[in-house]
Symmetry: C2
Subunit: 195 residues, 2 copies
């Protein structure tokens, strides 16, 4: 594919996370040969998403409105605020069907190696949001990776310093797993947090 | 991400080959949070590729012109015609730097299970192209998968019936490989085709 317009397409596809040269070539070929309609639809969806979405003024997730539908939902409990890293994490919590409070989406996590500090992950807007006088408990639901734990630690300190009640999702053995295949760190936490 | 415009983007990304729900969510999040410029660029590249590329009138590869640059190149040997499955295969042969003839790109291969027959892979245009009176040898460079072999077999029969000289890429031990790790079928072919 020596044509400039194809090289442009392959280069643009390679900027997607997890897509290398071979995958980008395969995608470009597939779209042009078998799914031009899909290519047009993707172009339009990208255009719309980029031009119409911005951050929710209250929880920072992506939304087309000033404030997102979840934040405006009167059915949700405004006393609980759950802090997640990404909209995908929020969606996972929603699918569990066991949380009725509100959210705050960091859109990232602490990552000192990549130069992402506590200011870059929206700590200040979170502190302001949590201090609205209605929120009683902040549930830290960042990931259990090293970066997610560091993020929870840093945010927890700052929130507690402002007198807020801060909790963290429980660590333990995943539902459905055999103990012999669970890693040692998880077993140690499950033992320490036994109830 | 409950917003319609985001769901549209995730759905459109899922139509790409090898992209499932999780990857599509990750791509959408990455583009909106970290690379809106890349999203705009991808939308534009898709739009351009779909509206400007069509098949080369001679070799069937994707091109913006009536006939592609390779087919028009007077430096190439018009007596040899190499048949490949995709533009990516053509690019691989070009990178090897050991072929100076022309190409015919099938844009597919026989796949009876998916309902892809010999008419769907451009057999008729290939026979017409190869019968231009200039082509002396047709080199079948389809893959060495079951489908690629079946494609080479079917096309080879049809081309030979029209009195054309037909050859196939050599099967054998890949350069740099240890014999003990090479599969038995390849060793059998390398023995039979020894020179």
């Amino acid at each position: 594919m020596a044509e400039a317009v194809l090289d442009d397409l392959i280069d643009a596809l390679r900027r997607l996370p997890g897509v290398g040269l071979k995958s980008a070539q395969r995608m470009a070929f597939h779209l042009l040969q078998h799914d031009r309609d899909g290519a047009r639809r993707l172009a339009l969806a990208l255009e719309h998403a980029v031009s119409r979405t911005h951050h929710c003024a209250r929880c920072h997730t992506f939304t087309e409105a000033e404030v997102c539908a979840t934040c405006l939902d009167p059915q949700r409990d405004p006393h609980q605020l759950c802090v997640v890293e990404t909209p995908a994490d929020q969606a996972a919590l929603e699918r569990s069907g066991s949380y009725q409070g509100l959210y705050f989406v960091l859109m990232g996590r602490l990552s000192p190696l990549d130069g992402v500090g506590v200011h870059d992950i929206g700590a200040a807007p979170l502190l302001e949001r949590a201090a609205d006088g209605v929120v009683e408990e902040v549930i830290l639901a960042t990931g259990f990776s090293a970066e997610g734990e560091a993020t929870a630690h840093a945010l927890g300190e700052a929130l507690r310093a402002r007198g807020l009640k801060v909790t963290r999702l429980a660590r333990g053995v995943p539902v459905g797993s055999e103990l012999e295949y669970v890693d040692l760190g998880t077993i140690a936490h499950a033992l320490a947090d036994r109830r």
